[in-house]
Amino acid sequence: MADFIQLLIGGVSMGILYGVVAIGFVLLWQTSQTINFAQGEFVMVPMFLMVALHIVLKIPFWPAFILMLVGSAILGYLFERLMVRKLLPGGVLVIVIATLGLSGFLRYGIQIAWTPQTLFFPPLFSTEPIRLSGITFSPEDIWNIVFISVIIVVLHLCIKRTKLGMAMQAVAQGRETAELMGINVRHIIILVFVLNSVLAGTAALFAAPIFFVRYDIGIFLGVKAFVAAIIGGFNQIRGALVGGLTVGLAETFAAAYITTAYRDAFVMILLFIVLLIKPEGMVGIKEEAY
């Protein structure tokens, strides 16, 4: 039982990170049918930004964090403005290739412009172990889970309750209808892209002490989050979260109870199963056939 809870903590703390990155996939897919293969790099770049601001330039934590989010937002804005807007008419594959190019550009850009080395980022919370009847965990795990959960809940509420959120939902339902309702679809889409990259920036802050700051972490995170989004359901924010947690837990439990050698393969097998039984994802809503 102690082991079980231990694994649960490990799995959830990873899964929730995958989940928050996966939400970005969902947001972009819903509002503009964009599959962003550079999503992982949208986490990696803020990591380096944070190191640059906080550790190299020695700016205090909070101002540095705000600046980093601003930087992420600009990245998201440029991404929409310079790339996606022009690429969308070309269809999904064109976007896939172009974002792959973007992913390489950002990755090698950081490597050349800065460093191929992995950089240290200090933990946000204490990592001293706390023992509780056979279970050992650190405040870092718990706080990560709590903070990210809060962010996701706030995001969810914003989308469900605020006027802006409603507008986003309307755009996701259908562009023409949204336009008829008097919503400025362009602005909403830009907003979603900025939101996505800010979210990724926030994820970067929590991921940096755990993964460390390395230029090639984006591929790893991107693929994991993409799988999470599909498993959970591509058209639901909830889906991304459920998917992330499922991936995190599946990895951990499969590694603990079956074999570690096929750790990543298990996630893929899980993906098969989910797609076979419920192609729209675990909590996704069936899309209308058209």
């Binding site: 082991d3 191929p116 240290f120 390395r214 230029y215």
Partner: protein
């Protein structure tokens, strides 16, 4: 107009494409550095090339090799074996005297037959034992191969720490699996025991709670980790976060500067072994590490020393044969005992190269110390090589 443009474009592209053809033979001793500049091992490749750069500068400042300057050119393998083949081909087309790199064993295994065919010495940073079984007379290692490193390390742990239950975590690639095979063999043959758990992990894996829970469940008291630098550091952190008390030990990557810089306090107490340590009682390692620290504001990873040595090996070989004959070089550089007297700048003290190009040298057993701001390797002992003239020497203890 159009035709003119077309013609000029095609001529231009032809020029670009063929400009990689062999240049007019210069006086220089050319060394093709085939290395991981991008991809998963880019940071290691970065250290390696810095070592190459420094060694080249040092040799040229001192008048070159037999009066000829050293010139190197970098060829990126992207950390991928097929690309490494094209990189070596490209390097060989440049007409080098020798090659330096790559580090990844899978890349070396893919391209080593090329240097063998071209009869061009290749000094690699790979550690997988299979490389030595391929029968190439043109491969030299710049680090101890797993087949010798693992038994040495296990010797120490088994005889000094006397663990009751040992487990192994290894990275799921040629590097980790090669070591796992050797470990199983050595434990069975020499110590008549087995690992209680063997777990393969992924590169870039960030959560090890599954593995460590198993370790805890099986009451493991000695954990052998065979990882690349970043993953090693992540595991140290998690071992600490789970409050596990056990002996953690690993190969040179687990105590190399990159692991310690990232692992910080969590790395404290980890045992590891390396032939090249910046604070080892070996003057050349210490000397070039100081230079590195001054240059780049941090201590070097041991790949820096290996890259450095890869150039000095070429110098040694040429000087020992007295000319630029690669076949003679190959003959001379096997079963050779390189001492500081023979090559005063080479790192690692007495180096012995056996008849398959495996390196045997004194390895330093270190335990990581934490001084509140930095994790440092604390030298515990110097372990003699398993082969060569020094193999009958006794272990030197620095602290016990």
């Amino acid at each position: 107009m159009l035709r003119k443009t077309l013609v000029s474009i095609s001529i231009l592209s032809l020029l670009i494409f063929f400009s990689s053809a062999p240049a007019i033979a210069a006086e220089a001793v050319k060394i093709g550095v085939v290395i991981e500049m991008t991809g998963a091992a880019a940071s290691l490749g970065d250290y390696w090339t810095k070592g190459v750069k420094f060694a080249t500068k040092e040799i040229n400042d001192a008048g070159g090799i037999l009066g000829r300057p050293v010139e190197y050119k970098i060829f990126d393998t992207q950390s991928k074996p097929p690309i490494s083949v094209s990189a070596v081909k490209k390097a060989l087309a440049w007409g080098p005297f020798a090659l330096s790199g790559p580090i990844y064993s899978s890349s070396t295994l893919a391209n080593m037959f090329l240097s063998q065919e071209a009869k061009t010495p290749q000094n690699v940073g790979s550690e997988n034992w299979r490389i030595s079984t391929k029968g190439s007379k043109y491969i030299w290692r710049c680090s101890t191969q797993q087949g010798f490193e693992v038994p040495k390390l296990l010797n120490f742990i088994m005889s000094e720490k006397k663990p009751k239950a040992m487990a192994m975590l290894h990275v799921n690639n040629d590097y980790g699996i090669g070591a796992m095979e050797t470990t199983k063999k050595v434990l069975k043959e020499k110590w008549n025991t087995e690992l209680v758990a063997v777990m393969a992990t992924e590169q870039k894996q960030a959560d090890y709670s599954a593995e460590l829970t198993t370790v805890r469940r099986k009451n493991v008291d000695a954990l052998f980790i065979y990882f690349l630098e970043e993953e090693a550091a992540i595991v140290y952190r998690q071992i600490r976060k789970m409050g596990l008390k056990l002996v953690v030990f690993g190969p040179n990557s687990s105590i190399s500067e990159d692991s310690l810089r990232l692992g910080k306090a969590a790395a404290e107490g980890v045992y590891g072994m390396s032939g090249f340590e910046y604070n080892a009682p070996e003057p050349n390692c210490a000397r070039i590490s100081k230079w590195f620290k001054k240059q780049y504001k941090e201590w070097p990873d041991n790949e820096f020393m290996k890259g450095y040595n890869s150039i000095y090996l070429v110098k040694t070989g040429i000087e020992q044969t007295g000319g630029f004959d690669k076949v003679k070089y190959s003959q001379k550089m096997h079963d050779i005992f390189i001492t500081p007297k023979m090559q005063k700048n080479i790192c690692g003290g007495n180096l012995y190269y056996d008849d398959v190009g495996d390196l045997h040298l004194w390895d330093y057993l270190v335990q990581v110390k934490w001084d509140g701001t930095h994790a440092k390797p604390g030298i515990v002992a110097a372990l003699p090589p398993l082969k060569g003239p020094d193999s009958n020497k006794k272990t030197i203890w620095y602290e016990k």
